[in-house]
């Protein structure tokens, strides 16, 4: 090629690049017909091995309108996700994984074969086996075993797919929670909700796209990083809606500023900004104007959607809400309301499931039962309520913890705990999914006789993430963000969609 031709080609490339950018910007503003498909995917598809063009892999998002809705890679079965995370890790052995054999071993020394080469968070020496501390029966047409700790959920098992052989490689809370939600046990990676809002934007521009609700008195151990945006732009981090203070940080006007005055003030700001735009022609000014308008609308819509007092009594009864408290049932009802209003990803964390037996509230024999009482009704109501509103079809509900609990009774530092408890367990636990194109009334994966190891249908956090993304219309291997010179994905280099539970 001659220099001249080269130059011409370079110009052409530049022009293409410029028009692509212009197009993206406009196209995000006006129509979203091609969204991800035509533009972003080219760069999204690049990966360490799959690189194509040699051009920099830009992360295409419009900084002025980062949350406008975008189309997924392929037709989605779910439009939104409600993820109920029981922080601390609930015991699968008292809820879903029925092990009569374990009962026979109750009180006996744990066989050395289960202990050799294993590390536990707290168990030392030789612990005793602990039989199931609940009664189990089969329910529904699917005949799923459920314990009497979950009297409500047992009525709707035919809506649910249970994953009974989930495993992880992290036995401490924070890294295990991070692995579950960010695809890596360390800080710094974007959470699932951030990925989803990055990929899909949000349908309701008057509400955040990714909302986090916490209950149980504490944040999950990994802190805000489990809903952080990691290396994605910070706009994609989860917005924590709080039951105390401002429902969203800074959403309330200062005292003395009523709605009319705020309106007048935003009008004045925007009028001045319009003048500025006339002078400067900077499109960024126009987007600031619209962001202020949106902020004003958010100030209306967030408190409104966060206010559950207007819900009819039968809904309160159904969920078992406790208005005015930071209560899980309230958050579950809120989750339904938020999804109904077009929020893309609602993440709940309920703290207090860490049943070591070190005290009453954190025990298998008392604490766990209480946590079930606080949550069972609401979780069941969520499924039924979504169903009666026709929302269950495109809302994916996920329930689970960060790992499971041991079939052995915990003996902290070799001593017996005051209550019955189980230690952290990485080799088998249960997570379930419902709605959003998930098969109804099925169980996938099996554990051994005592619920220690997964023996078939083993899945990992990455598989669950891949499945969630799949239901939302993304191939988890091709949904990437360029950072530190390489494309990153939620599932890192792992993950396989769990086809067995897809309808």
């Amino acid at each position: 090629m001659t220099q001249k031709e080269l130059h011409a080609q370079r110009l052409l490339n530049e022009a293409r690049e410029a028009s692509a950018r212009l197009h993206t910007r406009r196209h995000f503003l006006k129509d979203c017909a091609f969204g991800f498909g035509s533009l972003a995917l080219g760069s999204l598809l690049q990966s360490c091995g799959l690189g194509g063009s040699g051009a920099p892999a830009a992360n295409l998002f419009d900084p002025a309108h980062p949350l406008l809705p975008k189309l997924p890679q392929f037709a989605a079965k779910a439009k939104s996700v409600i993820y109920l995370h029981m922080a601390g890790a609930p015991s699968q052995l008292e809820l879903f994984d029925y092990k009569p054999e374990l009962m026979k071993l109750d009180g006996q020394d744990c066989p050395p074969s289960l202990l050799e080469g294993k590390r536990f968070a707290f168990i030392r020496g030789v612990p005793k086996m602990l039989g199931p501390q609940a009664r189990f029966a089969q329910y529904g047409q699917s005949g799923v075993w459920i314990s009497d700790n979950l009297p409500h959920l047992s009525g709707i098992v035919d809506e649910i797919s249970f994953l009974k052989a989930v495993t992880t490689d992290q036995f401490n809370h924070a890294p295990a929670q991070l692995l579950m939600h960010t695809g890596g046990p360390r800080l710094g990676r974007p959470s699932m909700g951030s990925w989803v809002t990055y990929g899909l934007g949000t349908e309701n521009q008057n509400l955040p796209g990714f909302v986090v609700l916490t209950s149980g008195g504490k944040f999950p151990d990994a802190g805000k990083s489990v809903w952080g945006s990691g290396f994605l732009p910070s706009v994609y981090q989860g917005v924590q809606c709080r039951s105390e203070g401002d429902p969203v940080l800074f959403i309330n006007d200062p005292k003395g500023m009523d709605r009319d005055l705020r309106k007048a003030s935003i009008n004045a700001i925007n009028k001045v900004n319009e003048e500025e735009y006339q002078e400067y022609n900077d499109p960024e000014i126009l987007s600031r104007i619209s962001q202020y308008e949106m902020a004003y609308r958010m100030q209306m819509s967030v408190p409104k959607v966060m206010d559950i007092t207007k819900e009819p009594q039968y809904i309160h009864d159904m969920y078992g809400t406790k208005p005015g408290e930071a209560h899980f049932a309230n958050n579950v009802l809120l989750a339904r309301k938020l999804v109904e209003k077009g929020v893309r990803f609602v993440q709940l964390f309920d703290w207090g499931w860490d049943s070591h037996g070190t005290d009453q509230s954190l025990s298998i024999d008392v604490g766990l039962i209480n946590k079930c009482r606080q949550t069972d009704k609401a979780v069941t109501a969520l499924i039924l309520d979504l169903k009666q509103r026709g929302l269950l079809e495109d809302t994916l509900v996920v329930w689970g913890g960060e790992f499971g609990r041991t079939p052995m009774m915990e003996n902290r530092e070799g001593k017996q705990n005051p209550f019955k408890g189980r230690d952290h367990h990485t080799e088998a636990f249960t997570i379930w999914m419902a709605g959003g194109g998930i098969r109804k009334g099925t169980s996938y994966g099996e554990t051994d006789n005592i619920g220690y190891s997964s023996i078939s249908g083993k899945v990992t956090a990455f598989d669950i993430q891949a499945t969630i993304l799949n239901q939302l219309g993304f191939d988890h291997e091709k949904f990437t963000y360029q950072f530190q010179g390489r494309p990153f994905r939620l599932t890192d280099v792992h993950g396989k969609v769990i086809q067995e539970i897809i309808a």
């Binding site: 360390r186 802190g223 910070s234 940080l249 005292k255 003030s265 500025e276 400067y280 960024e284 010179g485």
Partner: protein
């Protein structure tokens, strides 16, 4: 590169041909690897035949690999002989199973011709521009005649050399540059850019009233000399250094490392040359007679995270920190993404897998081991401790013990090099308590490996004795080996130091620590816990006068308590040397070949005579032949002023990064930075802000906007939103609340309740008092797992790892911060009071005029005034009707408690929210 060849060509044309149409003579049909061949390889071949995958044993990343025999036994490339080259045959093949690219679109005829011709010409490899050392660049002065034979005329718009490059491209694109913007706008732009704050009244008036030609330059000089300058550039550097006031990971406990932040401020203000600035941060500890400040500078690489969570593998997180140091060094200082080389050779750039680990070897011998205390630490002595330290060292020097003086000084200042007890193993009835410290029950033992005992006869250790009674016996080589020493253990309330003599033995030994305490009845209770061990010999000069007091001073300084500390770098002495291995596929548990410290071959070698350690690395990094260091910094400074880098991807100037918009300008500036300004950042910034390019008006016509929507070619001035820090600092400054206090521990200004709710850690956000609430944003306490919310809303980054570039967004949550965050409400109140103080009357129009002028340094336009006047009227009406609301808006019942002031607070809040306020125009 192309530029040079054109230049040479031009000269050749002139010399040989005299005048003539040189462009008719094509450059010898020499194929250029970088611009012609590499793009084809990157696009069509390297996915399967590159750094990640080498299908059929063939890779196109390096020439030696590409010329080697492939698995088939054939040679894909035979230089000079396309017909013998399998590659040529395969790209021509019609057989779909043979044709390359495999099962993809065939190459175009043109691409095939380029590759064939290139092989014919010898298949020379070329280098990506960013990996070639910076050369001096001639100015592209526009010529009014052929070939510059006549003296070029200077376009009226051009002010300095930068402008020639910009003008050249504008002309090519048929774009016209903009005139200088009006003074008030320029004043605010350059002040916010250089100091992160609006100008002081004094400076503003001086500039606005001075119509001399030098007025702008004088302003720039004053801003560069302002102490606020250092704070502003420190804010930028803190993202690169991943500065935080906590250690990260789950426990995310507090860390005192603010001395490093203060070091940055002072270094920027003193205009420490950038090469020294980097050298001290990378290897300040290894400089001869390193000062405290040089040690503090090394905290740059101690901002890595430390995992305090129990049960975590300290070696895993030590390794993670080392990896982070490598990645940060490349990304922040050399604009190159090196992280991918961790797992495999770079897919596109000339870095091999093992080169990552060779580079890592420079960092792998620092003493830090993920300890809870964050060792090594620099201990900041004051008062009598400080005097005693000097006395000890001086005494040793005076008595001729130079080496001992240096060693003693380092030990007293850093408690290094000690063996951390968390490196013990072979636990029998002992364990690492919370995986942090060796804790021993009775009876118990543990091993400390490979201790060099030659010429040592004294042990100093740090311990807690939990119970009375008990003995520690140290045996050589096994639990029943010869006794090195045995001592009874005193109970303590806290960590204490103990010094014990032992009989000298030769050689390197494993030491077995054996604890026995018959009086300790609880079999599960620990009797003793160790922090670290130090094997040494008594201070020399026992027989000399002053020995006793020196020895006493030594001990007092060594064991002094509650000494403030800063984490720093200290290297292992040879006897504690760590070996470095390649991690197979990046997995730290799967170790491959051992490697020695080295820089990647494609970027040269350490300068002659440079030591093969971090100091040598720093010398290579700041060598003028390093192609990346100056380019990266110049690009970053450009981005800070203009909103986008000359290479947009600040983090990656490699073949996968964005193409530079003005490569020659980048090189020109990099050359100037190193050679003309001797790495002076202030001089470079001055050059940048004095350019016509920078001082342009940022207004743009719709037509020009269409031509260059992102202002990549700089036909107008920069117009971008301020950073999170600038937005906050400006609001505080305009309202008059900003505290000028500099330095010191980080502060906790107002923050909504419930932001910090970490389980298992008792730290709380305790609101600072007095002026500490109104300090500049860089002083706000930065917690990694719960950063200050308004910073994050405005695109601040989490600082877990180095973030070389912030991505600007525009969101409603940002609006909510400046509308409703109490910080901004308070700023609005004080801003309103300031308007009342400084306006010529209490008349609303005068007040609003004043307010706008205080913020924007220019009179308000009539339309804008009208909008704000209407707001004032509406607010006044509302507050007049409702006294309670007035009271609430003012906050406290003070002299400002009247409807007029309340209405003015609303207006003040509106002004602080204007696009033009949060934007640099």
């Amino acid at each position: 590169m192309k530029f040079f060849s054109l230049q040479k060509l031009m000269i050749a044309a002139i010399v040989v041909m005299g005048v003539g149409a040189w462009w008719l003579f094509k450059p010898s049909a020499k194929i250029d690897f970088s611009t012609e061949v590499k793009p084809i390889l990157n696009k069509k071949c390297i996915t399967c035949h590159g750094g990640v995958r080498q299908k059929s044993g063939f890779s196109l990343l390096f020439r030696d690999e590409a010329l080697a025999k492939a698995e088939s036994g054939k040679y894909p490339i035979v230089p000079g002989d396309p017909n013998a080259s399998e590659l040529v045959r395969r790209i021509h093949s019609k057989d779909p199973e043979e044709r390359m690219p495999y099962h993809s679109e065939p190459l175009s005829e043109q691409e095939i011709n380029i590759l064939t011709e290139w092989i014919k010409q010898g298949a020379q490899w070329g280098e990506h521009w960013a990996y070639v050392p910076v050369q001096e660049v001639a100015l592209p002065k526009p010529s009014t005649s052929f070939f510059g034979l006549f003296s070029p005329s200077k376009p009226a718009w051009v002010k300095n050399d930068i402008d020639y490059f910009i003008y050249d491209q504008l002309q090519q694109r048929k774009l016209d540059p903009s005139p200088v913007t009006e003074k008030p706008t320029l004043l605010r732009r350059v002040s916010m850019d250089l100091t992160g704050l609006p100008p002081s009244d004094h400076l503003a008036q001086q500039f606005l009233q001075d119509n001399s030609r030098k007025s702008y330059e004088n302003l720039v000089d004053s801003l560069l000399a302002s102490p606020a300058y250092g704070e502003r550039w420190t804010a930028m550097w803190m993202d690169l250094a991943r500065y935080a006031d906590t250690k990260g990971y789950e426990r995310d406990a507090n860390r005192d490392i603010w001395h490093y932040r203060d070091w940055l401020i002072k270094a920027f203000n003193a205009d420490k040359p950038y090469n020294e600035f980097l050298t001290e941060q990378i290897a300040g500890d290894l400089l001869p007679n390193a000062t405290d400040d040089q040690f503090i500078a090394t905290a740059f690489h101690r901002n890595t995270m430390t995992n305090d969570e129990g049960g975590t593998d300290n070696e895993e997180f030590r390794t993670a920190a080392i990896v982070d140091r490598v990645n940060t060094t490349w990304e922040a200082l050399m604009g190159t993404t090196f992280a991918c080389v961790q797992c495999h050779s770079h897919p596109y750039d000339p870095f091999k897998h093992d080169e990552y680990y060779k580079f890592m070897a420079f960092f792998n011998n620092s003493r830090d081991e993920d300890t809870e205390a964050d060792y090594p630490l620099l201990r900041h002595f004051s008062g009598s401790d400080s005097a005693k330290l000097v006395a000890v060292v001086n005494w040793l020097r005076e008595k001729g013990f130079k080496g001992e003086a240096a060693k003693t000084y380092r030990f007293l200042k850093t408690w290094e090099p000690t063996y951390n007890s968390l490196t013990t193993d072979h636990f029998i009835n002992s364990e690492l308590n919370d995986t942090k410290w060796l804790a021993m029950r009775t009876p118990s033992s543990a091993r400390l490996k490979n201790v060099v005992l030659d010429r040592r006869s004294e042990l100093i250790y740090r311990y807690i004795g939990f119970v009375p009674g008990g003995t520690i016996t140290i045996r050589l080589d096994n639990v029943n080996g010869p006794v090195l020493l045995s001592t009874s253990i005193k109970p303590t309330k806290d960590w204490e130091l103990v010094k014990l003599p032992f009989t000298q033995v030769q050689g390197t030994h494993d030491l077995y620590f054996i604890y026995n305490n018959p009086s300790l009845k609880d079999p599960k209770a620990s009797g003793i816990m160790f922090d670290w061990f130090y094997f040494t010999r008594p201070l020399p000069g026992q027989s000399l006068p002053g020995y006793d007091s020196t020895n006493k001073n030594f001990w007092q300084v060594l064991s002094a308590k509650n000494i403030p500390v800063t984490p720093i770098m200290v290297d292992n002495p040879p006897e504690m040397f760590r070996h470095t291995y390649v991690f197979e596929r990046g997995n730290w548990l799967v170790k491959g070949d051992e490697v020695k410290p080295a820089v990647p071959k494609s970027l040269g070698a350490l300068p002659k005579g440079a030591p093969n350690n971090r100091l040598g690395l720093a010398q290579w990094l700041t060598d003028k032949r390093n192609p990346l260091t100056a380019r990266t910094m110049v690009n970053r400074l450009w981005e800070q002023l203009f909103g986008t880098g000359l290479v947009e991807t600040l983090e990656d100037m490699g073949t996968q990064g964005a193409e530079p918009t003005h490569r020659q300008l980048l090189d020109y500036l990099a050359w100037q930075f190193m050679n003309r300004y001797n790495w002076s950042i202030k001089k470079l910034l001055k050059e940048l802000v004095l350019s016509a390019t920078y001082t342009q008006d940022s207004r743009v016509s719709k037509e020009a906007l269409e031509k260059d929507p992102l202002n990549k070619f700089y036909a107008r001035g920069p117009r971008v939103r301020f950073s999170a820090e600038q937005v906050r600092d400006q609001a505080l400054a305009v309202s008059g609340l900003l505290s000028p206090k500099m330095y010191g521990p980080s502060v906790m200004p107002w923050q909504p309740a419930g932001i910090w709710m970490s389980p298992w850690n008792g730290y709380t956000w305790t609101r600072s008092e007095g002026e500490d609430q109104y300090r500049r944003a860089i002083y706000t306490f930065w917690k990694r797992t719960a950063p200050y919310p308004s910073m994050i809303s405005f695109d601040g980054v989490g600082r877990e790892v180095c973030m070389p570039r912030r991505i600007r967004t525009n969101t409603p949550l940002q609006a909510l911060v400046t509308l409703n965050d109490s910080v901004y409400l308070e700023a609005s109140r004080y801003f309103a009071y300031r308007m009342q103080r400084e306006a010529k009357s209490r008349n609303a129009e005068d007040l609003i005029n004043k307010g706008y002028e205080l913020a924007m340094y220019k009179p308000i336009a009539p339309g804008k005034l009208k909008a704000l006047m209407e707001l004032y009227a509406t607010a006044l009406q509302a507050f007049t009707k409702d006294k309670d609301k007035t009271c609430e808006m003012i906050g406290t019942n003070n002299e400002h408690n009247d409807p007029g002031t309340a209405a003015l607070v609303v207006v003040a809040n509106a002004i602080l929210n204007l696009d033009e306020l949060v934007t640099k125009s």
